[in-house]
Subunit: 265 residues, 2 copies
C-alpha cells in the first residue's frame, strides 16, 4: 500500500474538530491547521499528533497534498481567493450547499468536495463509520484519492455531483432544519400553556422510529390525513392569536390533505 | 387494597389492542370488548383472560364499572349516543382531541378522559410505563379511579382539562404529524433525484437526539437561522417546479428568520 497523502485542514470549527482527528486515526497525517484565529487552530492541534497551527493562507512551502476547507459556507470563496497552494495540491471543501467550482478561485483545477452528511457539535462524540460521505471531483485522480479517504472513514460513501448534492441539501433542510423548527413551535405551545415538553418526547421518539422503519408516507397520522376538518378548524381557532403558527398549521395540513386524500377520489 | 373495578373496552382498534391487555397485566379484569365488527372484538378477546366479544352497545346487565371508549374520534359521539350503561358506571374516552363533554350524550355525568399520549400500531410492542397518560374528570371520585388506574400503568400521569389537552394535541400535531410530513417531502425529493433516503437517516437521528437533549431552540441549524439568503434563494429555484414544496420552504424559512434573526437587531 502506498503512503497516505498528507492533509492540511483549513478551519477549526465543528467539522474540522471531528474530521482532523478522525483522519489521523486511520493513518493520515495532518500537517497544518489554519484558522484566522490562531487560538482556535492551536486548540485543535492539541488533539493531533504533530500538526502546526497557522493563521496565514500561504501554503506554498507546505508538504500537504490535500487541503480540506472546513469553514462556514460563506467563507469558502474567501479562502479559495486567498489561499496559496503548493504545486499539484488538491483543494476540497466539506459543504453541502456550495458548488465545487467555487474552489477554482484558488487557481487550480484539482478541486473536489468531501461532504460528511452529519450535524457536528464540538462536545458530542462522532463515529465516522456511520456518517454518509458524499464525494465529488471532476478529475478521476482526485476522485480516487477522495474515495479512498472516504471509504476508510465510513461504510457509506456516495458519489454526487453539484446537482444531486443540492437535492440532498434541500431534502436535509426539510428533514432536519424544518422538523427541528416544528419541534421548536411545539415546545413554545407547550410552554405558553404551562405544560412540560417532556410529555411529548415519547410520542416524538416513537413517531420518528416508525418513520425510520416503515417510511414517512406509510406512517402519516393526525387530523389532516384523516380528513378531520372539524379538529383542524378547532386547532386553527386555538391558534387564533398566533398568526404565523396558524399559517404554518394551515399550509401543512392542506398539503397533507392534498397529498393523501385526493388519491382516494 | 380494594378490589380493582371491572372494565369494558368499547372498540377493538390500535389503542384498545394495547390498552386492554396492559390493564389485565396490572390486575384489572376486562369484562367485554365491543366492536361493530364482532370479528375484531373476537380477535382482541383472544389476548385477554375471560372477556366476552360483543357487537351490541346494551350494557345494562354488565358487571363492568369503567367503560373505556377507544374508537376513532369521529365515532365517540355516536357511541355515547347509542350506549346503554349500568347504573353508576363511568364512561371515559381515550382521545386527545375530543372534549370530555361529548360523553354526556350517554346520559351520565360520570365521565372522564384517559388519554395515553402515544401512537399505537398493532404490531409493535408498547411499554405503557413510559407512555404519558393524561386524565380528566369533573367528579373527584371518577378522577381518583382514573388516576389510580393510570399510575399503575405508567410512571407519567398528568391531570389535564379540555383546554390544556387541546394545547397538547396541537403541540403534538406540530411535533409529530407535521414533522412526519416533512420527512415525507424529503423522501420524495430524494426519490425524484434518484437518491436513497437512507443517506439522510443518520443526520435525522442525530438531529432528533440533539433536540431531545438540548431543546429545539438551541439546536436550530440550516440556511434560515444563519440568514443565508443566497442558499435559500438557490433552494427555492431548485424547487421551482414544485410549487407547494416551495411554498412550505418559503414559509418555514421566513418563520425561522423571524424567530431567530430579528432578536439580534
Amino acid at each position: 500500500m502506498s503512503k497516505k497523502p498528507t492533509i492540511s485542514i483549513i478551519g477549526a470549527g465543528n467539522v474540522a474538530w471531528h474530521l482532523a482527528p478522525a483522519l489521523e486515526n486511520i493513518g493520515y497525517v495532518v500537517n497544518e491547521v489554519y484558522s484566522r484565529d490562531i487560538k482556535k487552530a492551536k486548540a485543535l492541534v492539541k488533539n493531533l499528533y504533530d500538526a502546526e497551527a497557522v493563521n496565514d493562507l500561504d501554503f506554498r512551502e507546505s508538504n500537504a497534498l490535500i487541503f480540506i476547507v472546513a469553514v462556514s459556507d460563506k467563507a469558502i470563496k474567501k479562502v479559495a481567493n486567498g489561499i496559496d497552494l503548493p504545486t499539484g495540491a488538491i483543494l476540497v471543501h466539506t459543504s453541502g450547499s456550495q458548488p465545487m467550482e467555487v474552489l477554482a478561485y484558488a487557481g487550480t483545477s484539482n478541486i473536489g468536495v468531501f461532504y460528511p452528511l452529519q450535524t457536528f457539535s464540538k462536545h458530542s462524540k462522532m463515529d465516522f463509520s456511520d456518517i454518509p460521505i458524499c464525494i465529488e471531483a471532476e478529475k478521476k485522480a482526485v476522485r480516487k484519492l477522495l474515495k479512498s479517504m472516504a471509504t476508510q472513514l465510513s461504510k457509506k460513501v456516495y458519489k454526487t455531483n453539484s446537482e444531486s448534492r443540492k437535492a440532498l441539501h434541500v431534502a436535509a433542510v426539510f428533514a432536519c432544519n424544518f422538523t427541528n423548527h416544528l419541534f421548536s413551535i411545539s415546545e413554545e405551545i407547550m410552554k405558553k400553556n404551562k405544560m412540560d415538553f417532556e410529555i411529548l418526547k415519547p410520542l416524538i421518539v416513537e413517531t420518528v422510529n416508525k418513520m425510520l422503519d416503515s417510511g414517512a408516507q406509510k406512517s402519516q397520522t393526525g387530523p389532516a390525513v384523516r380528513g378531520d376538518f372539524e379538529t383542524m378548524d378547532d386547532h386553527l381557532t386555538f391558534l387564533n392569536d398566533h398568526k404565523k403558527q396558524a399559517e404554518i398549521y394551515q399550509l401543512l395540513s392542506q398539503h397533507i390533505v392534498d397529498t393523501y386524500l385526493e388519491k382516494d377520489d
